[in-house]
């Protein structure tokens, strides 16, 4: 266990100051910054939200709309590919595979770092959402400060659901990013799948496509799509499947650097 934890710490050090690390911060604050600017320029937009029965619910889903449909899936594709690319680009797989740790530790410590980065992004995004409501109120006296009685449990639950629908794409991207040295292949394939998922949203079997779950779940939550299929369960099933397939493919790679 200590070996695994040390491997995890090592992976965390490795990703520090990498582009994937910056991408988490950029991705998390992009929508809140845009919203802040919009609320400063067009105060009516935030005033409308304040008139809603549940302000936090309204601002939360407004912010998640762009995030879940476009930015998060694309961010996952980019960040996962960038993390695995750290080894390819620096010619480091061979160094990593000559360390006295099991291949399982290598595979899962990298994978856990990616999952933690996703959690980090969601947490930062929520902090950004809160600030996108406070900052306009600081600069414009007509905008009221939001109630600081945040619905923590509800926030945790909703964010948890967005986390769950994101992990099949993360594990699928991890699976194929480990297979290709050429950065463009996993990025291209990942982005094509995400766009394909968006195009397929009106298809009746879209619930079978794990790369469309972010947007599908968002529309289900807003009641714009029928909730007849439990996307959360499908997400967990695909997550387990992709993680195991990725692990087996990684384990049986003939060349390890």
């Amino acid at each position: 266990m200590t070996v695994f934890l040390n491997s995890l710490v090592s992976e965390w050090i490795k990703k520090s100051r990498s582009f994937a690390d910056w991408l988490v911060w950029l991705g998390a604050f992009f929508v809140p910054i845009v919203n802040t600017i919009i609320f400063l320029v067009y105060p009516n937009q935030i005033l409308k939200l304040h008139q809603e029965s549940d302000f936090w619910n309204a601002i939360f889903y407004r912010s998640w709309e762009t995030m879940s449909i476009m930015l998060l899936p694309m961010g996952i594709v980019l960040a996962v590919s960038l993390i695995t690319q750290i080894e390819f680009k620096n010619n480091c797989w061979k160094q990593l595979h000559t360390l006295p740790i099991s291949f399982s530790s290598i595979y899962f410590s990298k994978f856990i770092v990616l999952l933690v980065m996703l959690v980090q992004l969601i947490v930062l995004f929520n902090i950004g959402i809160i600030f996108s409501c406070i900052i306009p109120a600081v600069f414009n006296s007509n905008i009221p400060f939001p109630s600081l009685k945040l619905p923590w449990q509800w926030l945790l639950l909703e964010n948890g659901k967005f986390f769950i629908v994101s992990i099949p794409l993360l594990s699928l991207q991890y699976l194929h990013s480990l297979q290709f040295k050429n950065f463009l292949i996993p990025i291209g394939a990942g982005l094509a799948l995400v766009i394909g998922g968006l195009i397929a949203l009106s298809w009746k079997y879209v619930f079978l496509l794990p790369f469309s779950y972010n947007s599908l779940f968002f529309f289900q939550t807003l009641g714009k799509r029928s909730p007849e299929h439990n996307i959360l369960l499908w997400s967990l099933a695909y997550f387990v499947l992709f993680t195991l397939v990725g692990y087996i493919l990684y384990l049986f790679k003939k060349e390890k650097g």
Partner: protein
């Protein structure tokens, strides 16, 4: 028992392209083993197999007496390596590169400064590895290989990219590690001259086959036996008769008589007899093959 021993190690990347053919590597404990061969001979493939980077297809690999397949992690705890170009994270500093490995090896943090001092790159501060020169990267890669205080070091062309002063420093460092700390070192190279002053044992590989494996002394003896004495005179046939009286084997090649290397005393005696028989001696010289020539001859024979 050898530090590294392979038994009939064979490998191919495709059915018709055998890269290694029954390699029986024997690296004694405490030796500084030079693994030589031209580019594409199979050196790196052998080293990658020794480190478990390639899946073994045929044969057995034993390191410190343990089977690599069954004891990979235990063995790797005692091994430091550098295969081909340095494996370093360019966006991190030298210290960070070592720190992330130190966590895994579980060695004391003070070891980071020790290896940086040994390799002469202690003062790189916050400079990212991306901004290092090739020589500095090479030094850092050697520092990485030394981090876990290994009892076996496997280095693939470790002086690539170093300036002459750097090459001398690394040679001295490897020699010191070998002599004072009893570290067994395998160094691959395609140039014998580069490592002949360093190694105690030599293995020569070409086209996936082991051509020579013994001590450097044995290779040097081969060098002496392959030296030749050359004689040029006005009457080679008459000279041959006299040479036979001295029980020297000889051949004539392009008006020159070629003999096994003679001692200075034998040369003087032969010259005296030839002159006494009214043979005009134009030249007697001994040509010693250098180790590089022996190396090239072995490779060309293959």
């Amino acid at each position: 028992m050898y530090c590294i021993e392979t038994k009939n190690l064979s490998h191919s990347f495709s059915p018709n392209a055998t890269v290694l053919n029954n390699i029986n590597l024997k690296v004694p404990h405490g030796s500084l083993y030079g693994f030589l061969g031209p580019n594409g001979a199979g050196k790196t493939t052998t080293l990658r197999l020794l480190l478990g980077l390639l899946k073994k297809q045929q044969g057995e690999i034993f390191i410190t007496g343990k089977n690599l397949q069954q004891n990979r992690i235990k063995i790797l705890k005692e091994v430091g390596s550098m295969i081909e170009s340095p494996s370093l994270y360019g966006h991190l500093t030298a210290n960070e590169n070592l720190r992330l490995l130190q966590k895994i090896y579980g060695c004391p943090q003070s070891r980071i400064n020790e290896v940086l001092t040994i390799t002469g790159i202690l003062n790189t501060g916050q400079k990212k590895v991306n901004q290092f020169s090739l020589g500095m990267k090479q030094r850092l890669a050697i520092a990485v290989a030394l981090l876990n205080n290994p009892s076996l070091l496997i280095l693939d062309e470790p002086t690539n990219g170093l300036d002459p002063y750097g090459i001398l420093e690394i040679r001295a460092l490897l020699k010191k590690l070998n002599e004072e700390h009893a570290v067994t070192i395998v160094v691959s190279s395609h140039l014998l001259t580069e490592i002949e002053k360093l190694v105690t044992h030599v293995g020569i590989i070409n086209k996936g086959a082991m051509l020579f494996q013994d001590t450097l002394k044995a290779l040097t003896e081969m060098q002496l036996t392959s030296a030749k004495t050359n004689l040029k005179c006005n009457a080679p046939e008459k000279a041959l008769e006299i040479i036979q009286l001295f029980n020297h084997s000889s051949t004539v090649l392009n008006d020159r008589i070629i003999l096994p290397a003679l001692s200075p005393l034998s040369i003087a005696q032969l010259n005296k007899h030839l002159v006494q028989q009214n043979i005009e001696v134009y030249e007697i010289s001994t040509l010693e093959n250098d180790l590089e020539t022996i190396f090239m001859e072995l490779i060309n024979k293959n």
